[in-house]
């Protein structure tokens, strides 16, 4: 093979080889990921909640009556008057809230929305951060200085208080919150971290080789620097999901979120109606414990996956 004349490879062959390489590295990374123990635990938590959220239509169908089980507008007329919030019964596995709505239905409905919020916020944020980091590292000089000073300024804003202030200017729906979080994290801390990674990639020989063989700046950034920053981006995306879900819940708890239902809103409704004070906290556990546990577990799930990915992405941490 070594002394035969190299034959021009056809496009199909290149594609096939690439696919084989891709699957091999995927298998290898999966082995590293599962070896970490903490990663698979996180992944199973996330899968559980995705299935739990996806089961909401089934839960609604099984009860045949959307007027009772609707997460936002539902009300059960069969319960005796004045008994809401009602403790768990067979027909309401987690009871009803102060307005007579089924907590289980609320929980399932909000889980999907919270996971989507987290994924959109983290995905968009990391996309911005990866592009900024790669561009700043590649061009250096004034471009770098500009984006890094922007990052400095963005990082100065106390996140929650800023979102509260912005909630007066714009209607903070879940999608809006996701975009705001994406902007605040994407231009802030994540951009700085990913830039330092891109700086390490930039000095690698293959970037030099690409430049010598006439690759344009765009080509080098897009097909050499970005793919090598992506693993770390993916890792930070997991941590951002945790941050986004927590911020949503905290903002909703403080009462500054303009949505009808989310995990934080369930707690906020209970808190607003005065069911989270003193002795009531123990009696009305079904109003705060299920959403609280769901938020904590979701945050934990994505955090665990992040820690598991850490072992895959950072070779330093391996082989102890």
């Amino acid at each position: 093979m070594a002394d035969s004349v190299p034959r021009e490879l056809s496009k199909a062959e290149i594609r096939k080889a690439r696919r084989a390489l891709f699957f091999r590295s995927l298998r290898q990374n999966w082995r590293l990921f599962t070896a970490s123990k903490i990663g698979p635990i996180g992944l199973s938590i996330i899968i559980f909640f995705v299935l739990f959220g996806a089961a909401h239509p089934i839960y609604m169908l099984a009860h045949h009556n959307n007027a009772i089980y609707d997460p936002v507008m539902g009300f059960d007329y069969d319960l005796p008057a004045g008994t809401n919030p009602h403790p768990p019964t067979w027909s309401h596995p987690l009871g009803t809230d102060a307005l007579g709505r089924d907590v289980m239905s609320q929980l399932m409905y909000s889980t999907t929305r919270d996971i989507l919020l987290g994924l959109i916020a983290a995905g968009a944020g990391v996309l911005i951060a990866t592009l900024i980091g790669s561009i700043a590292a590649f061009y250096g000089g004034i471009v770098d200085a500009f984006f890094m000073r922007v990052a400095d300024i963005v990082m100065l804003f106390p996140l929650l208080a800023t979102l509260v202030a912005l909630s007066a200017v714009v209607k903070v729906s879940l999608l809006m919150l996701a975009l705001l979080l994406a902007l605040l994290t994407g231009f802030g801390a994540t951009a700085i971290i990913l830039k330092s990674q891109a700086l390490q990639v930039k000095v690698k020989p293959f970037v030099e080789a690409a430049r010598i063989s006439g690759g344009s700046n765009f080509h080098i950034i897009w097909s050499h620097i970005v793919p090598n920053v992506l693993p770390l981006s993916f890792l930070y995306m997991m941590f951002s999901v945790t941050g986004a879900i927590f911020t949503e819940a905290a903002l909703a708890f403080l009462g500054f979120l303009n949505v009808q239902m989310s995990l934080g809103m369930i707690i906020q409704y209970a808190n607003n109606a005065g069911y989270l004070v003193g002795s009531r906290l123990g009696v009305y556990w079904y109003l705060w414990l299920p959403p609280g546990v769901a938020i904590s577990l979701l945050c934990a799930g994505f955090y665990f996956v992040g820690r598991g990915l850490d072992e895959v992405v950072n070779p330093r941490l391996r082989e102890r």
Partner: protein, 389 residues
Amino acid sequence: MLRYSAVRLAQIVVVLFIYTTIVWLMFYAMPGSVTNKFIGNPKIKPEAIQKMKQLFGLDLPWYKRYLMDMRNIYTGHLGISFDYYPRTVWSIITERLPRTVTLFLTIVLIEYAIGFYLGKLIAWLRGGALDYLATVSGIVLWTMFLPVWALFLIWLFAYLAGWFPLGQFVTPLRWLGAPHDANFVFIRMLATAFGGSFAFAAGWVTLRRFLHDRRVRRIAVAGLGLVVIAAALVLWARSGIGQYAIDIVWHMILPFITLVTIGFAGAMLVMRDSMLDTISEDYITTARAKGLPEKVIRDHHAARTALLPLSTGFVLAIAFSLDGAVITETIFSWPGIGLTLLHAVSTQDVPLAVGAYTVLGLIALLAHYVADILYAVLDPRISYHRGGA
């Protein structure tokens, strides 16, 4: 190094200017003003509201308002609060910032102390039962949703056990007829803490110079600590306002427990990772080969080096914890800077909000600055000679 510090300081001024402008714009973009809450009140006539707007300068064109607010910020005057009228913003911030900084500085200090010791220990005994227990319980607490955890602890300790108050900074009933206000007492508590730490540090340095036997020195330092604490306690017991100081401390314990239990795992995991990195270095093997005791290798060779990422993280953690103060202070209705900021934002008290944002931003900026400098001072491999970060 010196040049780098100077350039960074100049950058801080520019960044702070842009930051305050953005904050100001954010509030300018808000519809309505602080006077909106009087519109529905039949006793307050539209002319009175107009007069109020004139008084606060809310009827001025935007550039005049901007110049007025910026002048207020950069002359350190900060203006007069709309909602706490006629108190000045400066007096509100100087009243509440020390509280928050004290509480959160203590919290971060204790978190990092616990994190350092536990992280060091579990990295050394990695794979063991203690490692497993500390990591799992630490991460479970770390991912706990703060408001729910705080409410749970309030329910457990304040309601069921009745050991701590439900919230607030002081118990008003106990302060009936008190000779001074809460801030008077609190500032003196802070002064005592600073004076005590300073006396201890000075004594420690002196003892280090004159006592060379390790064991004798350890006993002397412990004795010095006890003497300083005893002196502070005696001073407070004789001052006549000791009971009020106890009341303030009593209200701080529950927020303290809540945040330390949630946060210590962060420092612990960083320390564990950093320690595991260090343990595989060659000089640890060399130290073992020299026959040094395990404890000396752990504490003096490995932990010293592994402390580096933790020490810079510490400075940044202080800045970040002030951000989290908004949640904690709201749940405990503990009037610090976080609660003030939230209140100012939701009532459109522009001077107070801009002032609080500026102070928090300034603290964050200085923390980043100190972290950068500290990193360069502690790690000789990093130099800021060429280019700069």
